[in-house]
Amino acid sequence: MSTSDTLAPAGESVLSLAGVTKRFGAVQALTDVHLEVRAGEVVALVGDNGAGKSTLVKVIAGVYTPDAGDINFAGKKITVSGPAEAQSLGIATVFQDLALCDNLDVVANLFLGQEKRVGPFIDEVAMEQESWRLLKTLSAKIPSVRIPIASLSGGQRQTVAIARSLVGKPKVVMLDEPTAALGVAQTAEVLNLIERLRETGLGVILISHNMADVQAVADRIVVLRLGRNAAEFKVEEASTEDLVAAITGASDNVVSARAQREGGHHG
């Protein structure tokens, strides 16, 4: 395991955490976690189910208050008292549990909290127009933007949540399993999008269970296991086997067993 200092590529550190700890009742979800993201860098956060990835994201996004630990943003120590504050700092987040308002339509959800206005009124037309544009960049297959979110398919909902993070001008974008429910085309679009974000100098935190996707777009890969930092890799140095071993905590695991079997089978 190597420290982030030696690994970090060029670029200012926009976000760094140290010693973050969070417990829920009798469960210690995060223990002394550190993480750093630089401008123009895509950091992948991987780990087994329940490793604490989403909890970490929610701590950064101001949804949870950590029990201990420091958060530095753009060089200054901050305390994020709520999601509104995190957003105003420039942290945009796509949550794993999406957090959409089922009773509102697609347009309303996309612009929630950042509605366009003419005078005192919401500018529905401008918002609808912009919605179609955003959704098209993500190859979304949504028949109508005027139906309640509740009636969308899983992937359609996820696309809307991702499109949301593009409204406004964030400095850091956190994507918690953004492609989990997406089709092949939409997944490719999202990976393209992440690369575009990096090019415009944003810091990106990507959580995914898909090692191929991670290896395709990440600069650096941070592994969490059971709520603790377990390993950290530069993407060029990490083989899929290394990653899986770091995630599961053992090199002879069910994944490698399957791979072997498959290899034997097909190969």
């Binding site: 959409l100 089922d102 919401i122 037309v125 028949p143 949301r164």
Partner: protein, 416 residues
């Protein structure tokens, strides 16, 4: 790709090939029918229920539909309707306010005491009454957002506490008569819109409606989005003109629209605009639909709560003042009896959900009209009180059952 060629011709929001397109009046009708069947037509079924009630009572006592009776239905519906408007707001957040009755009584009592016993001017008294509502709402919001007390509990405490305060304010003499020349009494009881003005108003409403619709069509076309056909909009505006015009003609046979009702209608329209067309309203729906999602979107959820509770109590106070004017007096019984239940029932019957995120300002108006019509109908038919209670229950059930059954008809995952 072949798709792109057709797409250029089709509006952006109609491009998806799974959309069942409706062009021409035949399709329109079919679509409307489908929407009705699938329970999407909001309040239409309750309106049907209202029509059934009207026909039923008319059969039993034709004077139920007399001009005079309709004027007095609207007049008496207005004060509680205003209170129900506040209830709609708290229900949209998925909260409840059981204390609107007590608050309305207390506000009226404060105003009456100031005006009659303390010799303050009427303006001061009315403002003080409204401030009582604002203050109570702010206090509620504090309890809810800072201490996390559930609204059912603090408004139950308010129901009792402010009833006590009402008794305390009225003191030993009990009932206070409002001076018959006071603005409140005059405005609520004797101000009717003159025939000429009423037709002018109808015309103005229809013009504003048509104008805003046509403007919206232009905007949407300019943005490359689909827009309703011009003809449809004009037909709707025409229907509105005929409907409102006929109603106005009919009530003008008697004394005409009361200003009280016009005021209530105006409040409803303003709240409807505020709810559907402003950021604040959008956020109210968002918080009511999924509070956590709203918070994560950066909405200042606490502010929404504060504004809604304050508005609800303020509407309650306003309704209480107007009810006192209509009644020309304030007594220990003001606002205590059925006011809470009636106001909440009106909102719910009109179609606002008790669970947040679904409803509209119009539901307050529709619901209170249904309730007031039932009461007036039973008054006119004149039956024993045991029968009266039973019929009220049955008619209420009937009015809403039509709504429920029509929603039920949608073939979906059951109770949805």
């Amino acid at each position: 790709m072949a798709d792109d060629v057709t797409q250029a011709a089709v509006a952006a929001d109609l491009a998806d090939e799974r959309l069942i397109r409706s062009q021409g009046p035949r399709d329109m009708l079919r679509t409307t029918w489908n929407r009705l069947k699938s329970g999407e037509l909001g309040s239409l079924p309750v309106v049907l229920g209202l029509i059934v009630i009207a026909v039923g009572f008319y059969a039993a006592e034709p004077r139920f539909l007399s001009s005079r009776s309709i004027v007095s239905i609207t007049q008496f519906a207005a004060p509680i309707g205003i209170i129900a408007l506040g209830i709609v707001l708290v229900l949209l957040l998925g909260e409840i306010d059981l204390s609107v009755g007590s608050v309305s009584g207390l506000a009226a009592a404060c105003a009456a005491v100031l005006m009659v016993e303390k010799g303050q001017s009427e303006v001061v008294a009315i403002l003080a009454g409204i401030m009582v509502g604002v203050a109570i709402g702010a206090f509620y919001a504090f309890l809810n957002t800072r201490l996390g007390v559930p609204s059912f509990v603090f408004s139950l405490a308010g129901l009792l506490g402010f009833q006590g305060a009402l008794l305390y304010v009225l003191g030993r003499n009990g009932t206070i008569n409002l001076p018959s020349d006071s603005f409140l009494v005059q405005f609520t009881r004797f101000e009717f819109v003159s025939p000429v003005l009423s037709y002018v108003l109808v015309l103005a409403i229809v013009l504003v409606y048509a104008g805003s619709q046509l403007w919206a069509i232009r905007q949407r076309k300019a943005a490359g989005l689909s827009a309703p056909a011009m003809g449809v909009v004009l037909a709707k505006a025409g229907a509105l003109l005929v409907g409102l015009g006929a109603a106005t003609y009919y009530v003008n046979i008697d004394r005409g629209w009361t200003y009280l009702w016009v005021f209530f209608a105006l409040l409803v329209v303003i709240m409807d605009l505020a709810l559907r067309r402003t950021r604040w309203g959008r956020h109210v729906f968002a918080v009511g639909g999924n509070e956590e999602a709203a918070r994560r979107s950066g909405i200042k959820v606490d502010r929404i709560y504060v504004s809604v509770f304050a508005l609800c109590s303020t509407f309650a106070a306003l309704g209480g003042l107007l009810a006192a004017g209509l009644q020309t007096s304030v007594s220990q019984a003001s606002g205590t009896t059925d006011t809470n239940l009636t106001a909440i029932a009106a909102a719910v019957i009109g179609g606002t959900s008790l669970f947040g995120g679904r409803g509209s300002a119009y539901s307050a108006m529709l619901g209170i009209i249904v309730l007031q019509a039932i009461q007036t109908g039973l008054n006119l038919v004149g039956v024993d009180s045991s029968v009266r209670f039973m019929v009220t229950g049955a008619v209420l059930l009937l009015a809403v059952a039509i709504d429920s059954i029509s929603r039920r008809a949608r073939a979906s995952s059951g109770r949805g």
